[in-house]
C-alpha cells in the first residue's frame, strides 16, 4: 500500500509541476509570438487558456491541471502496481 501511495503522490506532483510551468511557458510564448486567444481543454475541463484583447494578454491555468495531476497520480500508482506484481 505504501508503494502505491508514494507512486500516486509522486505521479501527481510530477504532472502538476510540469503542467504548471508548461502552461505558463505556453502563455509567455503565445504573448511574445502574437498568437490569438486559445484554450486547451475538453468541455468544462480547461488546462490552459490564453486571452488576448486590445490592451493586454492573460494566461489562466484551469481546473484541468489538478485533474490531470490526479489522473497521472493514478496512472503512476497503477504502473507501480504492475511493476511490483512483475517483481513478485
Amino acid at each position: 500500500m505504501r508503494t502505491l501511495v508514494i507512486a500516486f503522490v509522486l505521479g501527481a506532483m510530477a504532472a502538476g509541476l510540469a503542467l504548471v510551468v508548461a502552461g505558463l511557458a505556453l502563455g509567455v510564448t503565445a504573448d511574445a509570438a502574437g498568437w490569438d486567444s486559445f484554450r486547451i481543454g475538453a468541455g468544462a475541463v480547461v488546462l490552459v487558456e490564453f486571452e488576448r484583447d486590445t490592451t493586454s494578454t492573460g494566461t489562466t491555468l484551469g481546473n484541468g491541471v489538478p485533474l490531470a495531476a490526479l489522473a497521472c497520480g493514478f496512472l503512476n500508482a497503477a504502473g507501480a502496481a504492475v511493476l511490483r506484481r512483475r517483481a513478485g
Binding site: 508503494t3 508514494i6 509522486l10 505521479g11 509541476l17
Partner: protein, 242 residues
C-alpha cells in the same frame, strides 16, 4: 572503447583488502581469485593481459579486456584514455556505423559543491551540444539550452543534499551522471530518490512564479519532475521498486 594500452586503476575510494575489492560507498566486497588479483594489480590493460598469459590464459588480451570492462561497468575500476585517443577511436568507429561508449568514470566527491563541480562539465557539454539548434530558435532557446545543463547539475545536487552523512561517489557514464551510495530503504530511500528531480523542478516553478517571462527558459528544468514517475529510475527507487 577500451583498448590494450589504456591505463587502469582502482576507482577512487575503492580498496584492495585481502582477497576482495572493497567498495566503502556501496558497503560491498567483491571476492577476487588469484587471476583477478593479477589484473587489478596491473597498470595497463596490456600489462594485465601479459600477466594472464603468463598465468596460462589462452587469450590473455581478451580476458583482460573483458574483466576490466566488467569492473569498469561496476564503477570499481577507472580506465584512463587520453582525449585525443578517445576522439580518434570514436571517429574510427563511426566509419563503420558504430557509436562507441566511453568507459564509466568514478569520481570521489565530498559534498554537494564538489558534485556540482564534477557534474558541471558533462552538463556544459550537453548545453553546448544543444546550442547549434537553439541558436536558430532565438535567445530564449539558447537560455533554455543553458538551463538544460543547469538542471542536470541541480538534479545531482538534490540527491547529494539528501544523502547528507552518507558516503557517496559520482559515476559518469558518458554525459549521464549518477550518484552511488549504500543501499537505502524506507523513507530515506524515497527522500534521496525524489530530491534529485524535485530540486530542478521546484526551482523552475519558483523562478516562473517570480519572473513569469522566464517560464519557457526554465521549462527543461521543470521536465525533471517527470523523473518522479515509475518510468524513471528515480521514481522506481522512491517507490521502493528496485
Amino acid at each position: 572503447m577500451i583498448q590494450a594500452r589504456d591505463e587502469i586503476e582502482l576507482a577512487p575510494g575503492v580498496r584492495l583488502r585481502g582477497e576482495s575489492i572493497v567498495d566503502p560507498v556501496r558497503r560491498s566486497a567483491v571476492p577476487l581469485n588469484a587471476t583477478a588479483r593479477l589484473v587489478v594489480a596491473a597498470r595497463t590493460v596490456e600489462g594485465a593481459a601479459a600477466e594472464l598469459t603468463a598465468a596460462g590464459a589462452s587469450d590473455g588480451s581478451r580476458d583482460a579486456l573483458a574483466f576490466c570492462g566488467e569492473l569498469n561497468a561496476r564503477g570499481l575500476l577507472n580506465v584512463r584514455i587520453p582525449l585525443v585517443a578517445r576522439v580518434l577511436r570514436r571517429v574510427a568507429a563511426i566509419r563503420y556505423g558504430l557509436v562507441l561508449h566511453a568507459p564509466v568514470r568514478r569520481i570521489d566527491v565530498s559534498g554537494p559543491l564538489t558534485v556540482a563541480g564534477a557534474v558541471a562539465k558533462p552538463a556544459a557539454v550537453l548545453s553546448l551540444a544543444l546550442l547549434p539548434v537553439a541558436t536558430f530558435a532565438g535567445v530564449a532557446a539558447v537560455a533554455a539550452a543553458v538551463a538544460t545543463g543547469a538542471a542536470v547539475v541541480l538534479h545531482e545536487v538534490g540527491h547529494a543534499l539528501a544523502l547528507r552523512r552518507l558516503p557517496y561517489a559520482l559515476l559518469l557514464d558518458g554525459l549521464r551522471p549518477e550518484l552511488i551510495h549504500p543501499r537505502l530503504s524506507g523513507r530515506r530511500a524515497a527522500v534521496v530518490a525524489a530530491a534529485g528531480p524535485l530540486l530542478p523542478a521546484l526551482s523552475a516553478v519558483a523562478l516562473t512564479l517570480a519572473v513569469r517571462p522566464l517560464a519557457p527558459v526554465v521549462a527543461p528544468m521543470a521536465a525533471h519532475a517527470l523523473a518522479l514517475s515509475v518510468l524513471a529510475d528515480d521514481g522506481r527507487n522512491a517507490c521502493g521498486l528496485s
